[in-house]
Symmetry: C2
């Protein structure tokens, strides 16, 4: 049945049989036409679209690609397990082993549960936290993304007020705001959700203060509520363990997805002994949550996490890219805000307009030159990226700055 | 890191690092110790546990195994795609093709959306239905399972009243009850969820009447609400198309999972043009919803659905097993209720007590003899099952009836 087509043909066909032509974070309606949409293959740090263009991929599948697409060791482990059995009538020994290894890996963890979507992990955490003491209120930073479930999806369509009746918002990294939110529902706090750092689309990223991280922990303790850290986007990129270990702040629950399966679909909730009974009392499940192949891939991924310098390498590559682009921006007279950890960079132009003319034009030019940068979503480094890839990218960004200078008149109209 | 162990060792290890030792439908705390829990491999209709026992597997991974574990054609298609790329920065052409093929396959469908869990499909349907006209009420049959989300999970722990503020219950296959439920919230009905037939754990299964199926459709039309049919458990087993096609009743939305990926993890929402704008307005997504490998497997599975006699074969095998067991039960003086379609059989003993002494003893004896029957969950037939497997199973059930007669005194105390 396979009949491959180019992007235009596929877009026309998709418009017929997929609502809006595409949905979720894969909708590219906000990108210019230069961006690719459908892909033919991927290897290491590279991605080829259906029209034969190759890109150095700084989206990394929106996170999952950490060790390079098609990593031979991960793929071999997955294929070995796939030949034995993937989704069976029950789990394999790998499920126990994977739980054991992650409990060893992450300081706060005494147990693990596995699922498929990062959102599954966040949803299980929410229900577990409410089951813990029968309390209802869940505190979220305004605008923070914890998956597209009804209690958190950014679009209002199809959502009722009751879906968020017990969600209480506070400002991220603002201890006063968090304290006020806790005070407003004191005695009924089930959980405070924390994100290791602030990484929303269209916004500059920033790391929180140690004081904020400690305040989350202190307030959870005072309220006997569970502290949840959502590591779905950050996990294994900031640290080999928990992202707030450097603050010496440990959550009760942490949510993982994206990277942990080495590209294979698996998500995970880690919890401590305090939360164990609650996790045991709830009923959550999925047909494919116990499948063996992504667990084999996840075990192999964890081996690579422990045995390679992927973390130091991706941070070094990220720093090199950031420094090179910063020098170019300065030289060409642009103020490009490169925010967040360089291993998960966000790049937004100072003085850009609401439609991001600067950002879109600049990234569109890098995309044409084989470097897939995104105008408003945070990007990701992977271990397969090399100094040569950074050099290639810096040539693309240099050319893109020149085009930008030649074609866009500053300051932009609002 | 792999250190395989036998069931007892794995259970001891799991108790340390997984809440309750296991969760969801994989908790086997309600089964006797004769049942296996951890598996080493699977092939065709067979499953091997970690202690080396082989079973003819009538659970079929709780549904997903339709063409036999490790089907060569499905696995070859999946492996080919895996080598090219699975989870990438966007979809492949396969996503469009899979949507096109399913739109051709199912009468009511004009479009498709893909996800990972059957529950994802049911959740997307719920939000789409509410987005359709901005209405809130969702009508569910009491006790019907549509996934373990907060609006439907059978356990109360961690669930708030607001999670179900707009859920209205009615009795399955009872037109009066359904009409009364609709009347109670007339003008605010977003959706009525229907299940192709009644298949809850611990209960006899039954098929609905045509009058009921038509009433669901009529009431949705009168209310301008969306009719949702949850095909997650039934899909591709009752029919190659929609399960209510024989009633000539078409839903607006249908939810699919389990079988459609040929053992690979993929779920799907199908919808008609009436529901298209609503599906476009909501925001739902997942990191792994656009991955190519399960789509390749799903396309190959659909080929097998169209080109093989799997449906006739599984129904014939199911009928043969049912007839053989019925004869044995009668001869041994037991009233065994074999309910629902024989391709998804439920087997409960008449006169059994609350702890299912008859059912547990009988299935425990068949399990010991290599036929994995379940005492209270519906089972599934797969295309890899042969007449020889049925004969082997009928020898096991015959022996099990003899043991039952010799060891259990009737009537049982309540």
């Amino acid at each position: 049945m396979t009949t491959l087509g180019n992007k235009k043909q596929l877009q026309e066909r998709a418009a017929q049989v997929i609502p809006g032509g595409m949905y979720g974070h894969q909708s590219i309606k906000f990108l210019t036409d230069d961006f690719p949409q459908f892909y033919a293959r991927a290897q290491g740090a590279y991605l080829w679209d259906v029209d034969g263009h190759r890109y150095i991929d700084y989206l990394c599948a929106y996170g999952p690609n950490l060790f390079g697409y098609g990593h031979p060791q991960i793929e071999a482990a997955a294929a070995r397990q796939q030949a034995l059995g993937d989704t069976m009538t029950g789990p394999t020994a790998l499920m126990v082993e994977l739980a054991e290894e992650w409990v060893k890996q992450v300081k706060h963890a005494d147990w693990a549960m596995f699922a498929r979507n990062g959102a599954d992990a966040n949803n299980i955490a929410l229900v577990t936290a409410r089951a813990y003491k029968g309390r209802r209120k869940v505190l979220l930073a305004t605008g923070a993304y914890h998956g597209a479930a009804t209690w958190n999806t950014p679009a209002p369509a199809g959502i009722t007020p009751e879906d968020r009746a017990h969600i209480v918002y506070f400002d991220y990294n603002d201890v006063d705001s968090l304290e006020a939110a806790v005070k407003s529902v004191a005695g009924d706090v089930a959980a405070i959700y924390a994100t290791p750092f602030r990484h929303e689309v269209l916004h500059d990223q920033f790391l929180p203060s140690a004081a904020y991280a400690r305040a989350v922990r202190r307030l959870c303790d005072e309220q006997d509520a569970l502290m949840v850290v959502d590591e779905v986007r950050t996990g294994l990129r900031l640290s080999r363990t928990g992202s707030w270990d450097h603050f010496d702040v440990q959550p009760d629950l942490s949510c993982w997805g994206k990277t942990i399966g080495g590209g294979h679909a698996i998500a995970m909730l880690l919890g401590n002994d305090k939360a164990r009974q609650a996790a045991q009392d709830i009923f959550v499940t999925g047909s494919f949550w116990y499948s063996a192949t992504p667990m084999a891939a996840a075990l192999e991924t964890l081996k690579l996490v422990r045995s390679t310098d992927y973390l130091e390498h991706t941070h070094r590559i990220g720093d090199a890219l950031r420094a090179g682009i910063a020098e170019q921006a300065l030289r060409h007279g642009f103020v490009l805000k490169q925010t967040g950890p360089s291993v998960m960079p966000q790049m937004l132009f100072d003085g850009d307009n609401a439609t991001l003319t600067l950002g879109r034009t600049w990234t569109s030019e890098t995309v044409k030159r084989g470097a897939f940068l995104h105008p408003y979503h945070n990007m990701f480094m992977c271990a397969a990226m090399t100094d040569a890839d950074v050099a290639h990218t810096l040539q693309a960004t240099e050319d893109a700055f020149k085009v930008l200078k030649a074609t866009v008149k500053l300051p932009l109209a609002a």
